[in-house]
């Protein structure tokens, strides 16, 4: 089994490194710093850390004010609260003026688990991808998280990085290099392409292993930058393999699947299947129980692949 690491910790530690390198990095939180793991930064740079209290709307607009004053603010809370709670502030204070604010939301998706639907963010990617000018990243493991956070700090403009709560198996080695806006082919294959993001990239790789035994040769693509999406990689996958399955821990509406489908429909129509949460809210339960109940496991990906292959002839 590969090593499992929490993405949040990779985020928190990378912030500290960035803080040492660049005095303009500042961090905001909304009374959740031990959960978002911005507390590492708070401890080392108390003067550049602002706990805004349970006031996410204020936090987001303060971040805009800091960015307008030349700082590089990272603002963190749970994904249900940003973008969920303060979409209007993100839209007006950050997206419209195109300010250099980095929102890093933790506890995305249903893998939040037992805390239930109030804390399971399954709409955030749809919301944030709707905002012109935002770059949206969903890292697959701790190694990619650290590099994505660095990339966000180094690029001007609004960013949203979505992290999950549980520990996630490493899918990359130390030699991995994250390229902003570029898909990563994790495995070559010619029969079908599985495009996955976040925590489910590991499940996609597992599914590809299982399908291999059935003689199905899957290409597996990780799409860490959801927006702007790597259209070239999608068009190539459609052309090379003739069928695509998307995999995400998010509602089917407005996330990875819809974005890929738009590219496919415009440039290279091929059959697609969507592994995602259907139009429903989840219940409480352990993360793996919920992923199973709502059809987000390697087994479900396998089924979707078999289904799409039937349609692609």
């Amino acid at each position: 089994m590969p090593q499992e690491l929490p993405l949040r910790e990779a985020y928190g530690q990378t912030l500290v490194d960035l803080g040492r390198e660049n005095p303009d990095i500042v961090v905001l939180d909304a009374d959740l710093s031990s959960s978002t793991m911005t507390h590492f930064f708070a401890k080392e740079f108390p003067n550049r850390f602002f706990d805004c209290g349970v006031a996410e709307q204020n936090m987001v607009s303060i971040a805009a004010g800091l960015a307008a004053s030349g700082k590089i603010p990272f603002a963190s809370t749970f994904a249900v609260f940003a973008p969920g709670r303060c979409f209007d502030q993100i839209r007006m204070s950050i997206a419209q003026p195109g300010l250099n604010v980095k929102l890093v939301a933790t506890h995305g998706g249903i893998s939040v688990g037992e805390d239930g639907i109030s804390h399971q963010s399954i709409e955030d990617l749809s919301l944030i991808c709707s905002l012109p000018g935002f770059t949206v990243i969903v890292p697959a493991d701790a190694i990619e998280t650290a590099q994505a956070v660095r990339a966000a700090a180094a690029s001007f403009g609004p960013f949203y990085i979505r992290l999950c709560r549980p520990k996630v198996p490493l899918v990359y080695g130390d030699d991995y290099r994250f390229n902003l806006g570029k898909a990563v082919t994790m495995r070559q294959g010619g029969d079908v392409t599985i495009i996955a993001i976040g925590i489910l990239v590991a499940a996609a790789l597992e599914a590809a292993d299982d399908l291999k035994r059935e003689g199905i040769d899957c290409r597996v693509v990780n799409m860490p930058t959801l927006k702007p999406i790597d259209e070239e990689a999608i068009i190539k996958a459609a052309a090379d393999t003739g069928a695509i399955v998307t995999v995400e821990e998010h509602l089917e509406h407005g996330g990875l699947g819809s974005t890929v489908a738009r590219v496919v429909a415009r440039h290279r129509p091929v059959p697609m299947e969507f592994v995602a949460i259907k139009d429903t809210y989840a219940t409480s339960g352990k993360a793996d129980e919920l992923l199973q109940r709502y059809g987000l496991t390697a087994k479900d990906i396998g089924q979707a692949v078999r289904g799409v292959l039937k349609r692609s002839g």
């Binding site: 800091l66 960015a67 419209q96």
Partner: protein, 274 residues
């Protein structure tokens, strides 16, 4: 900045009101009442209080002014044009297709610090700017003009909690308390009273003034911070539509452009004929 007589203030404010009325008449859109209620406050701010350099709108030491009630953009655009932040003929394109001056105040306009229009954002943005100023011991101050209606917004009070907690005595909230919001009086829609006590209780050193009395406006704005270590709040009692008799205190003029005849009458009241 040098002293200015009340007569001079009156003349400047009259000129601003004339510009605002012409802009809104030409556009046949926008919020006239709120622009007129804030005209005197802005006249003092931009001619006597704010340290600015129109040739360098991004001068790091400049005072920041944020119009949090973004629907009152006409009066700020008029004042910025008068101060030379951009050519005056831009005002003729206000609200029109392809204009440099879009509806609701927008940060792309030289001299504008923040885009607003959804209410309850400006004070938070100002807190972010004031925080940097304070931590880095920069000389600038942050003035935020709010409407009374936006004191309904919870986020306004989130910011109101934040500023005193961080001892931001470099931020000044000014409430343009004209007592009329979109579709009713403040008292009818959601009563704010006792408003000054609320700001005071949140930790702001608070003063109430007549927002059309130039001596009172100037005195208050030149005395900030009212107390070291605390943010300042000025509750400016104003009249919506101030300066045009048939608009004053009238709900209908929250969002309504004057027609040709009404413009002529309004301009005549302000001493402009023909």
């Amino acid at each position: 900045m040098s002293e200015i007589s009340v007569e001079k203030y009156q003349a400047l404010a009259r000129q601003t009101r004339v510009r605002v009325l012409r802009m809104i008449h030409r556009a046949q859109s926008s919020h006239v009442g709120t622009s007129l209620s804030a005209a005197d406050l802005l006249t003092v701010l931009y001619n006597r209080v704010l340290r600015l350099d129109p040739a360098r709108p991004d001068w790091p030491d400049r005072d920041r002014f944020i119009l949090s009630k973004g629907h009152g953009c006409a009066v700020v655009y008029a004042v910025l044009a008068e101060k030379g932040f951009f050519p005056r003929d831009w005002l003729e394109t206000f609200y029109l297709d392809g204009s440099h001056l879009p509806g609701h105040i927008t940060r792309s306009v030289p001299g504008v610090e923040a885009s607003t229009g959804s209410l309850g954002h400006g004070l938070s943005i100002g807190c972010g700017m004031a925080l940097v100023g304070k931590r880095e011991e920069q000389p600038y101050r942050v003035f935020v003009l709010l409407s009374d209606g936006e004191c309904d917004e919870g986020s306004t009070w989130e910011a109101a909690l934040f500023a005193p907690h961080h001892h931001l005595d470099n931020i000044i909230a000014i409430v343009d308390y004209n007592k009329i919001q979109s579709f009713g009086t403040v008292k009818e829609v959601l009563d704010l009273e006792p408003l000054a006590s609320k700001w005071q209780a949140f930790g702001w050193a608070t003063r109430e003034i007549d927002g059309h009395d130039f001596e009172q406006i100037e005195k208050a704005l030149l005395s900030v911070p009212f107390e070291p270590g605390r943010p300042s709040c000025i509750i400016a009692h104003t009249v919506k539509g101030k300066g045009v008799s048939f608009m004053e205190g009238q709900l209908a003029w929250h969002y309504k452009p004057p027609n040709d005849e009404q413009l002529a009458q309004a301009l005549a009241e302000l001493g402009v004929f023909g």
